[in-house]
């Protein structure tokens, strides 16, 4: 799949959606596919993929989690891919962790091999895991994206929010403490960003559901600080972060801060828009918070069409 260095980015990527991009994060999938189409890069969904093994799996049965992740990588290998794109940070992390642990701990590798053997899959551990941000930054590059931009930015300033899993502990996506690649890409195509201190702080993860007092508090800090730093919207690369920040603002308005209404976008939605994508094909119609702002920025079609 990977292209020779001088020939620019590969023309196709194999893509692992995971549950989020088919569920709560469907806008991420829609915008991701649209964006790559506008960049003239093909994206093939991995056939017969299964759960990545993240969240409770890793905590309850590590062995099963590694086996699940390894199956997806093995499927990619069997399909002839040398790389697998994982846009969801949780998927990305668990796939990276599986590669790493298989290399580092022979016992993990052994149990994974046995599981893959039973499933009749190749036991190799050679498929590289890629995150879209890192692909955009390293493979495609700001210059190429800029050359395909068809719109001027008419929106406000954005706070780039990376979350934790994409940048830690593996640092291929960006610097673990001070990531800047989203800012670099956005600024390169004329989208202004703000200095956002909390760019890798916890979004609350599943705590928003399990211990809402803690989860909502973390959520509130992120939203409040983005506003304090002068941002009018947050842009993110993780479906759980996006969901947490976008979906609970009503609750926060009721509990803490009446005036809160901040749109929370995917990076792929902003880039996709600049590359010529439309409201619906970028999943912009699925946003919960800051809808009036979004309508202003992205010149939404008529009212009735904007509903899901």
């Amino acid at each position: 799949m990977s292209a020779p260095a001088q020939a620019g980015p590969p023309d196709r990527y194999v893509y692992f959606p995971g549950c989020s991009l088919k569920g709560t994060g469907v806008a991420y999938e829609e915008s991701l596919l649209t964006m790559f189409r506008k960049l003239d890069i093909g994206v093939d969904e991995l056939e017969d993929w299964n759960c990545c093994g993240a969240t409770s799996y890793m905590a309850i049965s590590e062995g099963s989690a590694f086996a699940l992740a390894a199956r997806n990588l093995a499927l990619a290998h069997r399909a002839g891919a040398r790389e697998l794109m994982a846009p969801c940070s949780a998927c990305y992390l668990v796939l990276m962790k599986t590669l790493d642990y298989r290399k580092r701990y022979p016992s993990v590798d052994k149990s994974v091999r046995e599981a893959l053997d039973r499933a009749g899959l190749p036991a190799t551990n050679g498929v590289r895991v890629r995150h879209p941000l890192e692909i955009l930054y390293n493979d495609i590059g700001a210059a190429r994206i800029k050359s395909k931009v068809v719109r001027g930015w008419t929106g406000g300033r954005l706070a780039c929010y990376y979350g934790c899993q994409a940048v830690r502990p593996y640092s291929e996506v960006d610097d673990p403490h001070q990531p800047t690649r989203m800012e670099q890409l956005l600024n390169a195509i004329g989208v202004p960003t703000v200095d956002y201190t909390l760019r890798t702080k916890c979004c609350g993860g599943s705590l928003t559901g399990t211990i809402p007092t803690v989860g909502l508090r973390l959520n509130y800090e992120l939203l409040k600080e983005s506003v304090r730093n002068g941002a009018e919207a947050i842009v993110t690369i993780c479906p759980l972060c996006q969901f947490n920040l976008d979906a609970y603002q009503g609750q926060i308005r009721a509990d803490i801060w009446k005036a809160l209404d901040v749109p929370v976008l995917y990076l792929t939605q902003v880039l996709g828009w600049m590359l010529g994508g439309e409201w619906r094909e970028l999943g912009l119609n699925r946003s919960i918070s800051g809808v009036s702002v979004l309508k202003r920025w992205f010149s939404a079609p008529k009212e009735k069409e904007a509903y899901v």
């Binding site: 610097d175 403490h177 001070q178 201190t197 909390l198 800090e221 600080e225 304090r228």
Partner: protein, 669 residues
């Protein structure tokens, strides 16, 4: 000395080294095996061969059994080759009729399999017994020692070493890279735990250096080449142009006043950029030598050639000379003291503490300048916003004891953090929080100083700080820097809002330590500090004879330890100088003139230019190569290169090496 048959009579001694060797190798078995080898007259094992009774065994056997060759299987020759050569000599033999087998560092210490290690020791012993039979009688060489010393680095370590040597009547060249001596100590305000003023105790020593008749002070200079060996080093020093004649400048500062820049424009390195200086400047008021210099990067005349040159007009001594070029000096010295110091940890490597992002995050060295009465704020401790802080957090171990940056403890940070806590309170009345992992206060009066700070009401929070941030949880945190830390004594995460954060940076090797190491042919430990010859017993020596270490270039240490080490390094150099001569290994190469064809292959190969070609002598054609024994260092390059095999090397004769190899490869009996 050989017996009637002409066969050598070899004595073999296998050392237990307590359990160091005997714990892994079956010493008895090795000694018994030794007795079966050809030419071996006696083979013994002994608990400690290096002890007096151990050495006595050797003399006695030489005497009683008419031995003429000795083999000791024990530790590394670096430790005891000299001991056993002396014992051999004491028995009446030439000391070079001895050979040593290292069955400790090359045996017991690196193996765990007893049987295999024992077999290996037997093999090595057999090889040595065969080799020693071929040994020849040799004489050591004695060379005179040049009594002059070069000291590299003009911090407190270099200053103290230079003064000690100079006061003993030795000629010293003190070479400093910066434009002034003084080092880091000159930047400190007070010293812990006595709180005496750093400048008050340092500057008199700086002036003594300048005025001492035995010291040649070269600042703004670097050593660019080192040749030779102990007793006879040849050193090239490059003196960078300061564009001011050092001999003429009196340090009156009129040129600085007259500079077309009315205000400073360039970040002043001495104040860590907290103030600005002009292109022509004095590094600090007590700079030694008291001579200004011009920064060509900033001076208009260097950049555009279109300056009114008011500085030149202002100088009534005509000391400013814009065309000055670098000047290379060459000196001969017998020994050297390396005292190149440390560099502070770069806080950019810990971005989570917000340095460079939040203006009121400072490094500890910046605070040293802020509390100093002659510092950029005249001793006012204020943030970069000009406000006096009401609460200050001091974070310990920034770049120390950290798996992600530097793993070592920097030894001085706990104490200087206490000192800064005291000084900041004194200057601002602020509430001060110290965040520490462990308080390490093991020096004289250090623990008492810690108690004093506790009584003064400074807060101590035990835990490594996670981050410094400006996001506020509630109104009390608005506009503050919030320190997030797990307080491990009460087992909870705390958020402590402050107005100023001080990062207590660790000490690390200088960026160019590796270059210096190569230049002087010394070693670095894994973390990059220069390596002493032995961590306990030769702490100021290096692996190269005649080169000594002092101060933080060898590892982090405080001022008292640095001064003590500098004194020790000077004493080592003096001991060498007082010996007047040094014995060198007779491992030089020599030419068998009869077989030399005069092809000159060896001449360009010699790294020490010790070989010359003699075309004729006394009008008689010679046409042979000749080796200057005084210059030869015994590297063996010419021996291997000689096409006719007519160059030989003492201690490494072909037959000695071949016998050793044959012995090693011979199947064990």
């Amino acid at each position: 000395m050989s017996d009637a048959t002409g066969q050598p009579r070899v004595g073999v001694y296998v050392c237990h080294c307590g359990t160091n060797i005997a714990g892994v190798i079956d010493v008895k078995n090795v000694a018994e095996y030794g007795a079966t080898l050809p030419n071996v007259v006696v083979s013994r094992e002994y608990k400690y061969m290096c002890s007096d009774p151990g050495q006595e065994l050797i003399h006695q056997d030489i005497h009683d059994l008419r031995l003429d060759r000795i083999v000791v299987a024990s530790c590394s020759p670096l430790l005891h080759e000299h001991t056993f050569r002396t014992a051999t000599e004491a028995g009446g033999l030439n000391p070079f009729f001895f050979h040593m087998v290292n069955i400790r560092e090359h045996g017991s210490w690196v193996h765990t399999d007893r049987a295999a290690a024992t077999l290996k020791a037997r093999d090595m012993l057999r090889a040595a017994v065969r080799r020693v039979a071929r040994h020849r009688a040799l004489e050591t060489r004695s060379v005179p020692i040049n009594p002059d010393v070069l000291v590299l680095g003009g911090g407190i370590a270099g200053i103290h070493a230079a003064l000690t040597l100079a006061n003993a009547g030795k000629k010293v060249y003190l070479v400093e890279r910066e434009a002034t001596i003084g080092g880091h100590m000159a930047q400190f305000d007070k010293t812990f735990p006595t709180l005496d003023c750093a400048a008050c105790i340092l500057t008199p020593k700086m002036s003594q250096v300048k005025s001492h008749p035995n010291i040649t002070l070269w600042t703004y200079s670097e050593v660019t080449k080192v040749d030779g060996y102990v007793g006879n080093f040849k050193v090239e020093v490059t003196r960078h142009p300061r564009y001011v004649d050092e001999a003429l400048c009196s340090g009156c500062m009129q040129c600085v006043e007259a500079c077309v820049y009315k205000e400073g424009r360039v970040p002043d390195a001495f104040n860590y950029g907290l103030s600005k200086r002009k292109p022509i400047y004095m590094p600090f008021p007590q700079a030694t030598p008291s001579v200004v210099l011009i920064d060509p990067e900033a001076c208009i005349d260097f950049k555009s050639g279109k300056c009114k040159k008011t500085c030149i007009e202002a100088c009534d001594r005509d000391a400013i000379y814009l065309k000055q070029a670098a000047n290379v000096e060459e000196v001969n010295v017998g020994s050297m003291v390396i005292a190149t110091g440390f560099q502070p940890f770069d806080v950019k490597r810990t971005p989570y503490y917000g340095y460079g992002h939040y203006p009121n995050v400072f490094t500890s060295l910046e605070i040293e300048r802020l509390v100093n009465a002659s510092g950029p704020t005249g001793g006012e401790v204020v943030g970069r916003d000009g406000k006096k802080p009401k609460a200050v957090g001091i974070i310990h171990c920034v770049g120390s004891r950290d798996q992600h940056t530097n793993k070592w403890c920097s030894r001085v940070c706990c104490m200087y953090s206490l000192k800064l806590a005291h000084l900041v309170r004194e200057h601002t009345d602020a509430e001060v929080f110290n965040f520490y992992i462990d308080m390490r206060t093991p020096g004289k009066g250090f623990e008492e100083f810690y108690q004093r700070l506790l009584n003064e009401g400074v807060h101590f929070v035990r835990g490594r700080v996670a981050e410094v941030t400006d996001w506020a949880h509630d109104r009390s945190e608005e506009g503050k820097l919030v320190i997030r830390v797990e307080d491990t004594l009460i087992g909870t995460v705390r958020r402590i809002p402050v107005d100023m954060v001080v990062l207590s940076v660790g000490l690390e090797p200088r960026e160019d330590a590796q270059d210096v190491r190569r230049l002087f042919n010394i070693s670095c430990a894994t973390e990059g500090f220069f390596l002493e010859r032995h961590p306990k017993l030769a702490p100021v020596n290096t692996s190269t004879d005649g080169i000594f270490l002092a101060g933080c270039c060898q590892g982090p240490k405080d001022i008292p330890d640095t001064v003590a080490q500098a004194g020790a390094a000077a004493a080592e150099a003096l001991a060498l100088i007082d010996a007047a001569h040094i014995e060198l290994e007779p491992n030089t190469a020599y030419i068998d003139a009869e077989h030399c064809s005069g092809c000159k292959t060896c001449i360009p190969m010699c790294p020490y230019t010790a070989i010359s070609f003699v075309a004729e002598r006394d009008r008689v054609a010679v046409q042979k190569a000749e080796i200057n024994e005084a210059l030869c260092k015994g590297c063996g390059t010419c021996v291997a290169a000689c096409p006719s095999g007519s160059i030989h090397q003492n201690l490494f004769e072909d037959d000695e090496i071949f016998e050793e190899i044959a012995g090693l490869l011979e199947t064990a009996g």
